[in-house]
């Protein structure tokens, strides 16, 4: 039987009926309609599905939607600010582009969420702390160089 839950995604509250086995990832992609978070492996190995759940970086593919009842979820779509002129990219998003942190872009949503979680917890991480925090997000394109530089630039205010 399905379970009724209420989840706040990027500031908007959604009442949802979910299968107890449904993942948060499929629920957000199929029911909420936000496809920024990706499914790359379905077993917490690649990080492409990463969301913040009550501030915690979470592999949404392996997190049950029912457990997110009452939680505040942030996806990549919640990172840019909206104003009258449209979306304004965050410093981290801008730095990812200017430092070459984006190629195919499939890992990018999860990578941005991981980096956001890191910077909220540790505003001035060392390079090694950045690398460790991003290790659950596999990227096949960039060698992580531009991504690490982007996070470092945000941390030291040069983004």
């Amino acid at each position: 039987m399905s379970v009724s839950i209420t989840v706040t995604v990027n500031g908007i509250t959604y009442p949802l009926d979910v299968d107890p086995h449904a993942s948060l990832l499929h629920t957000v992609r199929d029911q909420v309609g936000l496809t920024g978070a990706k499914e790359g492996c379905d077993d917490s190995e690649c990080g492409a599905c990463m969301m913040l759940v009550d501030g915690r970086p979470t592999n949404a593919c392996s997190y049950l939607a029912v457990q997110a009842d009452g939680a505040r979820v942030i996806t990549v779509e919640g990172l840019a600010e909206q104003d009258g002129a449209g979306e304004r990219l965050s410093a981290l998003q801008r730095a990812m582009l200017s430092r070459g942190g984006v190629q195919c872009g499939f890992c990018t949503p999860g990578m941005l969420i991981s980096a956001t979680a890191l910077l909220e917890r540790t505003p001035h991480p060392s390079e090694d702390e950045i690398r460790v925090a991003l290790s659950g997000n596999l990227c096949r394109c960039t060698g992580y160089d531009g991504i690490v530089k982007a996070v470092a630039a945000v941390a030291d205010g040069t983004a």
Binding site: C41, E87, G105, I130, G143
Partner: protein
Amino acid sequence: MTVTDRVEQVFIRPDGKEKVTGAGRYTADLNLTGQAHAAFRFADHPHARITRIDTATARAMPGVFAVITHVDVPEIRYGGMVSDRHLFAHDVVRWEGDVVAAVAARTPELARAAAAAIEVDYEVLDPLPDFVANAEPGAPLVHADWQSYGGSRSMGRDGNILGRSTIVKGDADAAMATADVVVRGTYRADASQGAPIEPRAVIAQWTGDKVTVWTSTQVPFAARDGVAHTLGIPQSAVRVIVPLLGGGFGSKCDFHFEGHIAALARAARRPVKLVFSRREEFIAPDHRREGMLIELETGVMRDGRIVARRGRLTLDGGAYCGEGGFFAQMAAMHACGPYVLENVNVESRLVYSTNQPSASVRAPTAPQTCWALEQHMDAIAAAIGLDGAELRRRTLIEAGAVGPAGQVFGEVGAKQALEAALELIGYDDYLRGELPDDEAIGIACGWWPSMASPSGAYVKLNGDGTGVIITGAQECGSGAVMGLPLLAAAELGMRPEDFTLHYQDTDSGPWDMGASGSQTTFNNGRAVIEAAREVRAQLLELASQQLEIDAAELELADGVVRAAGSPDVAVSIADLAGSGTPLLGKGSGELPENPPGETSSCVGVLGMETFLAPQLITHAARVKVDRQTGVVRVMEFAAAHDSGVILNRIGADGQVYGGVLMGIGQALSEATWFDEQGRQRNPGLLDYKLQTASDAPPIHIRWIEIDTPNAGPRGSKGVGEPPSVPTPGAIANGIAKVIGRPVHELPMTAERVWSVAVDSLGLEWIDTSGKDPSA
């Protein structure tokens, strides 16, 4: 063009914003009204004869729209250079990923359940996973009917030998006998994977007699042509659209599942969507990097002169040819390497097995072959008492050198790349002994050709003076297509951001070979420039009329057409574009020809025997080896590349960072291991180990920007594949220096490194086979 004529500013890729906001749509993000979901029934045995298929139970399941097998599609064989397979297995399954049937159902779960409910009976056959044994005369055949297959005549096919190529120069046997020293080595490389983070997805929808296929392919035209061919319909009845592509690394080259899903959508009479799980992404594509056995023998004089190279390469082609038919010759060239070799005799064989088929993965055949050759080069250097860098300094090609198949090289940056990499990594300090005992620096050199291919583009201007580039080229993430506005803008005196790109659609862009072969800038760049030049001529003509100045005295710059020398006499491109005259250019450009060679003694000549505008590379790796466990970490890396003139630095650097890390993975942690039956043992990202951010070393990059004969647009060559080529070799040579002996198996896993170190370092071996002394 000269080396100074290039873009230095940071270029933000046009698809960047949609990628960082999550708005960008990849194939799996799309849904069509009424769509069904697809699942495949894969072969239940790696090698078996199908005796019965009964789909009745599956068809009767509620929510199942269609179940199809080989009887539901035309009996048409397909394949890159050899037509050796069908969409659905007919009588024999030849690897675990062979598709037997496909299901369309209301949900993915239901589709999978119905696929499992199809009854398939088999007569199990002996698997033939040992590709080296399969190359022996009289070995059981993977394809009993191989002679009846259509295919390239120049491949030298014979039974299980899918392709055989030789590179022959002079008399290697005679020269070997005259050498001061002869060095031999045997090397084994395991299979590996492209492993893009996006598992592939395909959606097909029919409208009347036409099918539109959204698919995660690197090669939309090959996908379109494959659908048309296998379903027996005209190419005009197939439109392929590629949404954002989540990486490919070669593995999404070639026609794969678009035909199955198009056929399924026709049978289901609704749109059908296929999304692979990660496990399927490992097992099902007929596309992975080939395992190899590499045997090398080199005769060298005491001064380092290489008088003879003999080699025998055996490559695992897997069950079907796919688009990998050229591998034998490509591998043979990499067994020669960018060195002056006086005499050569290299034989290379691509062999069928009942393993997953091999096909292009980033620089196909090169990283493994280079890994073997560069360890062999270090062994040669040691044998004559030279430092490895010095041997390479003496033997790398330069202008005027004659290649292994008779090519006479023009200007190449091989030696400059060597010196640059040595400087970047601090090689002199290392030679002075300034590293700890558990660290060493290994170096390796490699090369990769530029690929000439037909290509086309349109450039049109809008009424406000902005423009659209319409191209058949495909973007795989590398940014090659994203960089095309730089070229058009430079021709037209406009800004790159004035252009949008229309690509990803076979019904609008001209034919292109796709995101493969590091050739998008080389070929499609040429086409875009040609198209922009047509627009330029149109603009000059219009401006000439308006300004009443001869077109020859006009120039385009800063968004205006102006009199050379009198910048105030000008008309804006926006005004000209808004005047109502269509401004539309098309172009292909003149296709460069491969350099001539001397191939009268070679067989299996497929066009790889000479290298057009070759890219030259030296990599240097500082490695640290945990000598008690064999775990290796790459601490620092230097990459020096002659890729011609670099047009977009941030994009080119990105290829090196990513390619080197992929190479580190291939060197240390990435392999597809097959069991004795030929089934993959590690089809997941926990045990197929991509390098993580915390494993990645700092990478120093130097571009050797020299003017190259036959280079592409504005002096460029290619940048996508070369960064993967010498990386495993450089790491291997570093490891060997730390543990005192080379590791001749790839990847050089911790256990393999440790196994060598047990002997070379005399590590303790605790024998626990007897009685526990503490018991």
